[in-house]
């Protein structure tokens, strides 16, 4: 259980993730994409910044959206490849559907969908800026969080009117439960909102002291972890009602510090959290064992991901330090 890698890149760490081969990849605000295992980096957005990133739908490499209006796929073997370019746009939201081989991203009020198989490109216009996008598990529908709720679009239809999931207020992020039964948004007012999709039933999940910026379903989609409190907040999705009527648990709350980012193991009840004081912990929720991965304080943690095998963590902070932690297993 050690920090196996640490390096300063002197630029805000926008995203840290593992691709499907468990290759750690980091996206930096100055436009670089870093492959720490190879000690390789690419200037994927020259003279510009990266605002968002996801694993490519094939599972290989990273797709980044930038303030240069470009969408770039960077792999360790081929380096950066431009997938799309929209002059003057800030691409700050992105998601990918491996099942459908599509990427969706947004700049302000417009959502673009790239179909990698048919090469089709579709445009979905909204009345307000889009803050988050999520696909259903099959990639057939696209859920776009915006002001006053979520707009739902069919990915494969060009001209259509979206279905609306209405909830007043400003929704700032979105996550789809892996089984596709529940949709969750974070709201400007320090709360989550949820919908049970089969009947559009609303769920209000409040009580947070701060804005929720990180939402992650983990443990086979049975648990939802979020930032926005002194500890990581975990909601159960064990029954058909989801978290309705259930209490959330706050894991490892720390006085004077806030969790800024969470990441859980896809298959296990293992959860990691990064804090605004630079610390990072990992917890096995069934044994209540908590380990400090990084106990020294520093700049706020801005990105964190757990590998698919749950044996490694990659994370980075506001000042551009990137770390990889390896478990003992």
């Amino acid at each position: 259980m050690t920090i196996a890698y640490s390096k300063s890149f002197d630029s805000y760490v926008v995203a840290a993730l593992f691709d499907s081969l468990d290759e750690p990849i980091v996206a930096l605000a100055d436009g670089r994409v870093v492959f720490p295992d190879l000690d390789a980096e690419f200037d994927s957005h020259p003279n510009a910044g990266i605002l968002c990133a996801v694993v490519h739908p094939t599972g290989l490499g990273i797709v980044t959206g930038g303030d240069d209006g470009r969408v770039v796929w960077t792999t360790k073997d081929s380096g950066p490849i431009e997938l799309a370019s929209h002059k003057g746009a800030w691409i700050d939201v992105m998601t990918a559907a491996p099942e459908a081989q599509t990427i969706a991203y947004a700049a302000a009020k417009t959502v673009y969908l790239l179909d990698l198989l048919s090469k089709a490109q579709r445009v979905f216009r909204h009345d307000h800026s889009v803050s988050g996008i999520a696909f259903d598990p099959k990639g057939r529908k696209l859920y776009c969080s915006t002001y006053n709720g979520v707009n739902v679009w069919f990915s494969r239809i060009a001209e259509q009117k979206p279905q609306k999931l209405f909830w007043a207020g400003s929704h700032t992020a979105i996550a789809m439960q892996p089984a596709g039964d529940f949709l969750i948004t974070a709201m400007q007012e320090n709360a989550l909102h949820g919908w049970r999709l089969k009947d559009s039933k609303d769920m209000r999940m409040g009580g947070y002291p701060a804005k929720i910026k990180s939402i992650d379903f983990f443990a086979k989609g049975k648990l939802l972890a979020t930032s926005g409190a002194n500890g990581a907040v975990v909601w159960p999705f064990l029954r058909s009602n989801g978290p309705m009527g259930e209490e959330a648990s706050e894991i490892n709350p720390q006085d004077g510090a806030m969790v800024t980012v969470v990441s859980g193991a896809p298959e296990e009840t293992l959860l990691a959290a990064g804090l605004d004081d630079g610390r990072v912990w990992i917890a096995e929720l069934q044994s209540t064992g908590i380990d400090w991965v990084k106990a020294e304080k520093g700049a706020a943690i801005t990105a964190l991901a757990m590998s698919n095998e749950a044996n490694r963590l990659v994370f980075g902070d506001e000042e551009g330090f990137v770390y990889i932690y390896e478990g003992s297993e």
């Binding site: 926008v14 303030d67 700050d92 302000a108 307000h128 400003s170 400007q188």
Partner: protein, 393 residues
């Protein structure tokens, strides 16, 4: 705001407002092209207007939404929250941020955004709401609707632009009306948005520590008949610069009296003379322009020499803002709280109130409590009564 500017690592934000045609685009183009040694990220309302290719220019959507923040309900700019948090990832690429609003925009939601969103508040501070006023079309703008008036009432800094297109008498009249709408803002005259860029940005005008500007505004002779002295020889030598007062003024904590209560002339500032470009117009002094008050938007200045009951005052102010916050555009004050060696300073944007204890009163300084409210439908008598009821009995 409570971060005292000088030591702050937060990024300063200047909000640039102004009625249609007031010269915002000209000014932005200057900011982006002139060699002034500073780099700015600019959030513009219409992307095409600025003919400059620069990845630090971002288009905004003016998306205003109502937010329920505990007991305070206010409107904020959602697109601004999103864009600012994106920009903050590239901290270091620029020194400051400028937010341009459309000519018809209410500056309230923009300003409130900097107080309501925690993340924005933690990383940026509102440096100044700067309003450009077109001298030639000012009368028409006031007639068109309430936007132009509110932009003036909201400002920390007013640039009276296109001064070469009207007579000196007309300029003085406009300035008098600006003062009537907003006694707190500094007024600077310009021809073609030709103000020194350095004097425009990063001035900490919104900062609580600059509260010396809240002077004793009580009663400045409401001579609506305009018979104040226009005969102000342009050669007079007190062109001192308000931007550099405060610490740079020589005396620590110098309280600048806009009403010429003391002699300014011992402050040696080599500024351009009156009428020249870049002249920083002094508010009052011997070139006395008395405010012309407006029927709709008023300012009410209150003061008291008796120490205030801090608890009572806070309760009164909270209640006032809760009930009349929609109409109160801006409020600022410095208070002498009984039993407290430090000044209590506050400022409010509509219902959002921020206050803190700041530097102690100086020895021998007159501990005068004062507050200024700018807004619509203000009831001067009721405000005065409420304020005076907060003094220690």
């Amino acid at each position: 705001m409570p971060d005292s500017a000088a030591t702050s690592t937060k990024t300063p934000v200047t909000v640039l407002t102004g009625y249609l045609g007031a010269g915002k685009t000209t000014l932005l183009n200057r900011i982006l092209t002139e060699n002034h040694g500073q780099k700015y990220a600019v959030i513009v309302n219409e992307f095409g207007e600025i003919g400059i290719d620069n990845d630090l220019i971002v288009g905004a959507d003016e998306e205003v939404f109502e937010m329920n923040n505990g007991c305070v309900c206010c409107t904020v700019r959602g697109d601004l929250i999103r864009i600012l948090s994106g920009l903050m990832k590239r901290k270091g690429k620029f020194d400051a941020i400028i937010v341009e609003t459309t000519g018809l925009a209410d500056p309230g939601p923009v300003a409130q955004t900097f107080f309501v969103d925690e993340e924005i508040k933690a990383k940026t501070y509102l440096d100044s709401v700067t309003t450009l006023v077109d001298a030639r079309h000012f009368d028409q703008a006031l007639k068109d609707g309430r936007e132009a008036k509110e932009q003036v009432a909201f400002a920390d800094h007013i640039i009276l632009n296109k001064t070469d297109l009207v007579s000196p008498e007309k300029l003085d009249e406009i300035e008098a009306r600006l003062k009537g709408l907003n006694p707190l803002a500094t007024i600077q005259r310009a021809h073609r948005s030709d103000v020194p860029i350095k004097a425009l940005l990063n001035q900490h005008r919104f900062d609580l520590s600059k509260m010396e500007k809240v002077e004793n505004h009580h009663d400045h002779g409401h001579d609506h008949d305009h018979d104040h002295d226009h005969d102000h020889g342009h050669g007079h030598g007190h062109g001192h610069d308000h931007h550099h007062h405060g610490p740079a003024h020589g005396e620590p904590g110098h309280v600048h009296d806009e009403h010429c209560g003391h002699d300014h002339h011992d402050h040696h500032h080599a500024n351009p003379g009156h009428g020249e470009a870049g002249h920083v117009h002094d508010e009052h002094c011997s070139h006395q322009i008395n405010p012309i008050h407006d029927e709709e938007i008023k300012s009410v200045s209150l003061s008291s020499e008796t120490p205030m009951d801090g608890v009572k005052f806070t309760k009164w102010l909270d209640k006032l803002l809760a009930e009349q916050g929609q109409d109160i555009l801006r409020a600022k004050g410095i208070l002498n709280v009984a039993g407290e060696e430090k000044r209590l300073v506050f400022q409010a944007v509509h219902m959002i109130l921020e206050g803190e204890l700041q530097q102690p009163w100086r020895e021998g300084e007159k501990r005068l409590s004062r507050a200024v409210f700018i807004g619509r439908n203000l009831d001067q008598a009721a405000l005065k009564a409420g304020f005076e009821a907060c003094v220690v009995q």
